[in-house]
Symmetry: C2
Amino acid sequence: MSVVSHLAILAPGLLGGSVALAPKARGAAKTITIWARRPEVRIQLASQPWCDHVTSTPEEAVRQADLVVLAAPVERIIELAHTISPHVKEGARVTDVGSTKAALTRACAAALGNRAHFVGAHPMAGSEKTGWENGSADLFQKRVCFVTPLPSSDPAAVEDVARFWTHLGAQVTTVSPDEHDEIVAHISHLPQALATTLCTFLSQRPPAWRNVSGNGLRDTTRIAGSDATMWIEIFRNNREEVLRALRGLQTELEGFHAALANGDWLEVQARLERGKAYRDGFRP
Amino acid sequence: MSVVSHLAILAPGLLGGSVALAPKARGAAKTITIWARRPEVRIQLASQPWCDHVTSTPEEAVRQADLVVLAAPVERIIELAHTISPHVKEGARVTDVGSTKAALTRACAAALGNRAHFVGAHPMAGSEKTGWENGSADLFQKRVCFVTPLPSSDPAAVEDVARFWTHLGAQVTTVSPDEHDEIVAHISHLPQALATTLCTFLSQRPPAWRNVSGNGLRDTTRIAGSDATMWIEIFRNNREEVLRALRGLQTELEGFHAALANGDWLEVQARLERGKAYRDGFRP
C-alpha cells in the first residue's frame, strides 16, 4: 500500500482535519470518507472539496476503508475502536492521533482483534488551536510523528502506517507505547504543567503585570492557552509518568532555588550555561 | 526637549544598538555619539551611517550630550555613571537599559549628584540574541519600557526621558524602582529560571528526546538560550525578589502535583482553566 485507496477519518479535530487536507494535497489517498459526531460538523464537512463522503455513523465510514484514522480525543479513541471493530474491512490498517499511547494502544489492538491491524501514532503537531477548521495541509511538515507498535503488531501494517504519516510530511520515529509515554511526559506534558502553573501563579498577582510582560513570558506560557478538556485527558492517561517527570523537575528547581538563596553564583551560572547548551542544541 | 539635539550611547549591546538605530529612523536625535569598550567594536561602529562620532573614552562621548544612554550590562552601568559624572553636561538627562532598577537607580542618581539627572529605564525588548549588530530600528515598537523615577527625580527630566523612549516606539510605564524589580522578578526572571531549569532537567535525560519535541517545548524553553553572563547579573541584582517569586511558584507547583497525585481531576481541570483564562487575556 504505497498510496491509500480509501481513507476514513473518524471524529476530526485539528489533527484529523489536517490529515484530511494533507493526503489529497500530497496524493496519499484517493478517496476520503469522514464521520464526525456532531451533525452540524457533518454538514460543514460535506461541502469541503477534499471530503468525498460524509457518513452519519462511524460503522458506515470504515466499511470500505483500507486505512482508518481515529482522530478523537484519547478516551473516545478506544470507544471508537470497539464501535468499528465488527465493521472494518478485513486486514485494514487503523491508526490514531492520541497524545498518550500505553493503555490506548493495547486497548485498541485488543478491540480490533485479528480482523484489522491497529498501529498507534502520535503526530507532535498539536497547537493551542482546536477544531478541524483550523487544520492545514502543512501541519505535519517536518513534525515528528511517533509510531508505536506492540511486539505483536504485524510488521507490514506498521510499515504501511509509518509510510502514510511520512507521506503527510511527518518525520516518523518508532518507539514502544511505554517509551512514548515516558518521552512525552517529559517533553510535552511537563512543559504544559509548568506553563499552566506559571499562569495560575501569576493570575494571583496584579492583573496589570500581564500587560507589561515581554516576549519571554509570552512564549514561556503560550501552551497554557491550550484546551483544558484535551489536557485533562492527557494527564489522566499519563498520570504516573507525568508525576515522575514533575517530581524530577521539582527537585531540579529546588537546586536552582538553593543556589540562588546561598548566593552560589558559580552554581547559578553553571545552570544557566547547561540550560543554554541544551537549548542551543535544538534543531533550528 | 522634544527632540534630542545630541545623544550619547555608551557600551551598546542589542538594546543600545537599537537605540542608536531607532532615533535617526524616527527623527528623535540629531547627532549620535557612541563609545564602546572594545576598540574593534569602535572601528565597526565608526563606519555605520547612523553613527556620527565614536570616542575612545566614555568621558569624551558625554561632553556635548543632552541625553546619555548607559547601555552596558547592569553592573557596568553604575561604574559608567561614576566615570562620566564629572564630564557630563550640566542639566543633561541620563537614562539606561538595565534589567534591574532598585539598587542601580539609587547608585546612578547618587553618582551623578546635582550635575545631571538620572532617570532609569528598562525597555522590555531583550532577546536571546545579543550584540549591537543584532539591533534594529523597530526593536522597541509596541514594547513596554519601564521608566523608574525616584521621589527625588526632577519631573521635567522624567518627562524628557519618558518622551525619548516613546519616540523610539515604546509604550512607557512609570513605576518606582522597587515596584519594577518586584514585577520583573515575576514576569521575566521567574520564567527565565523555569526555562533554564526545565532545560537542565531534560539535559539529564536521553539526548534523542530533544529531537522529537514539538513547538510546545521549543517555545517554553526559548529564553533558556539567553546569555548566561547577562542573567547571572540579573539574578545577583534581584535575588530577594526572585527568591520570593520562586518560592510562590514552587508552592503553586506542589499544588498541581498534589492534585495530579490525588487524581483530583476537578482541581487539575480548574488549574488548566485558570491558566488558560490568564493566558487568553494577554494582549494579542
